[in-house]
Amino acid sequence: MAKLKSASELKKYRQDILAGRDPDRPCVTICLGTGCLACGGEQVHQAFIDEIARQGLEDRVDVRRTGCHGFCERGPLVVVFPREICYLKVTAADVPEIVAETLVHDRIVERLVYRGDDGKKVVHENQIPFYRHQSRVILGANRLIDPNRIEDYIALGGYSALAKSLFVMTPEEVLDEVKRSGLRGRGGAGFPTGKKWETTRDAHGETKYVVVNADEGDPGAYMNRSVLEGNPHSVIEGLIIGAYAIGARHGYVYVRQEYPLAVANLTVALEQARDLGLLGDNILGSDFCFDVAIHRGAGAFVSGESSALMAAIEGRVGEPRPKYVRTAVSGLWGKPTNLNNVETWANVPAIINRGAAWFGSIGTAGSKGTKIFSLVGKVRNTGLVEVPMGTTLRQIIYDIGGGISSGKEFKAVQTGGPSGGCLPAEHLDLPVDFEALDRAGSMMGSGGMIVMDADTCMVDTARYFIQFLSEESCGKCVPCREGLKRMLRILTGICAGRGRPGDIELLEELGEVMSEASLCALGTTAANPLLSTLRYFRGEYEAHIKEKRCPAGACKELIRYYIVPEKCQACLICARSCPAAAISGEKGQVHVIDQSKCTKCGVCLEVCPPRFAAVAKFSGKPVPAPVAAGTRIQGRK
């Protein structure tokens, strides 16, 4: 492929691609994001290739591999164009039927389409409630693009924002557009992107760098991975435009080693962009030269921190530095360096193409545009959700997420990853933007959202995040390292029933010092999971400490299982299922749990037939003494 040497050559190239495509030609797209791959997406893809060949349809049907569509709960996802028929949880065994029915006879395979609670079937992907309530500015293109084919991206107008920037706008105008759009960093802190760019642009020095932060490490969060895997060119195009505005000639993508598919797709995308003259010397025939290298992270969460990330790229240990000078002024090798998150960069082409006013019309007063959240936990529709800023937690969790999966009561939603916090039901109508989440004691973070129900213990949740951070902190400064160590010990003690009066106050004291004195943002926010759960769920801490009771019934060392003698029907089901052989009993004899052998796995409670409901979970009160051995006769009704 010859390099494109001007904006009009890019335009012509796009027209040629479109001219060679028949919009009415059937195309099967299979989601092959990491989530769907894990559910057997690759086998589904191969089955389509084989079946289409077997039926001799190769000349009439296209098959496209795409990145993540977002509805991961129901993967592997298959969408058949042009009618956009969406099939859910497709297996390789379903493929011959889809080919025969949908591709040959243009009929719908009813059993594979979405069915709502009201029993109504929804055929089209966009009409499924999960998608219908979203605004997919960034993620929307994923289902239309094979990330390994730059033509797919260009067919959708890809790289036209770059051409516009290079040939219609000055770097100052590009910068001004981004500033006026109100775009703020999607990586966590929400710093105004245009202002950051300007600082690097105005910083002293000839050599400058632009960097993509793809070190996404929050537990349960995978929106950056899905953008990089599914639409790598959107990030690359944003990065090139940013480099043009800032005056950088070199860029890096710092991506975690744990994202092999993102690395692979990004590598291919960079090669294809270079081949077309969209990267390298004299981009699109202009004077502007810029290229990008991939740096794979070695698996440290703390390397997402800007100065640690840059140390890692330089080949040093990924640890935050103590210097009080911003990386925008002195970053990589002491040169001005602009670091933005994957999602931030991916917003840039849309802003250039559609304008700052359009972008500013989405969202709230202080937070513009859309935000991608990874909605996980005890919610029915787990997946990636993109909504305008200001959408309420209730809309996200209930309208899009479909509510609580267990059918139990909503208890809290954890936002912002390990640095964020847990918000209770009273905040469900909170409009989600940077300020509102901050005020409520949590944060936007990079967009993780973990939904918790009545069975989730908030002390244990805090303990989990504190443990995560104690392992992922760099361990350099005393407040963060020693503070987390002590916090973890105290929280582990509370969960195990060893909590003492004064623990809560000591935790608060520790949390305060960590927030005030730590070296980097990991440490200053590390106490948030603790402080926010204390703020909203202090009663749960007190119950653990004073009554040795876990209100959620989740902390193993504070619960006991007990078979209620009056209810037990001596059916032996629980006794046979108990993996610890802790249940004694025989036909006609009330079953008894030996508390010294019980591992609190809860299997007995699960298997006891609901019509008997003889197994009870106790917390905070002693288990009644077992019925004397000689009087265990069960009088079956």
Binding site: P322, Y324, E471, K476, V478, R481, K485, L510, V513, L519
Partner: protein, 201 residues
């Protein structure tokens, strides 16, 4: 070298541009506690004991004085209620790890009789003085940090590095926790007398 003026604890102080708040304070006779600082080494900012409050146009924040460079007209307070509270907690956290000379002095200064945290055995503070002195002054890199988070420790990265140790023993007196000496000796266990460190060095 350009001289600038700032205020530390109410005193007008002159300092050279490019120096740190800690240097300026010490020159002016204002004592700021530190455990990980050494004038010969680059600022590390790990112990956080040297935090001070700076005031720029009414905006106050805490910074590590060992790493923050002096600015013209800056108003600095080295002791506030908050700072004392932070230093007390840091000393208390470290007291659970070890009770050595410098820490005992600090414990006395902040009125600490012991720690509410229980320690296991005398442990390294991870101030990195030994590691950084070897790397920055001796240019040897015989030791390094390994692991991260609460699993971080000081260790010999390899036998090769250890065998390259010039046995200058200059790192030994730098250690504020006393943990380095035993680790150092352990690192040379079984080595011939003439190549190992002298006892009681």
């Amino acid at each position: 070298m350009e001289t600038i003026q700032l205020e530390i604890d109410g005193k007008k102080v002159e300092a050279e541009r490019g120096t740190t708040l800690l240097q300026a304070a010490r020159k002016a006779g204002v004592e700021i506690p530190t455990l990980c600082h050494d004038d010969r080494l680059a600022p590390f900012g790990a112990c956080r004991l040297c935090l001070v409050e700076i005031d720029r146009g009414g905006r106050k924040r805490l910074v590590a004085s060992c790493a923050y460079e002096v600015e013209d007209g800056l108003v600095v307070k080295t002791v506030t209620e908050k700072i004392v509270r932070i230093r007390r907690m840091i000393v208390e956290l470290l007291l659970a790890e070890a009770t050595t000379g410098p820490l005992e002095v600090l414990a006395g200064k902040y009125g600490l009789k012991g720690s509410r945290f229980k320690g296991d055995e005398p442990a390294c503070f991870l101030c990195g003085l030994c590691v950084r002195y070897c790397a920055e002054v001796k240019k040897k890199d015989i030791t390094c940090f390994i692991g991260r988070g609460i699993g971080r420790e000081v260790a010999f990265p390899s036998d090769l590095a250890r065998s390259a140790c010039p046995l200058c023993r200059e790192c030994l007196p730098l250690c504020p926790s006393g943990a380095w000496y035993s680790l150092y000796l352990k690192g040379y266990e079984g080595m011939p007398e003439e190549t190992g460190p002298r006892q009681g060095a």
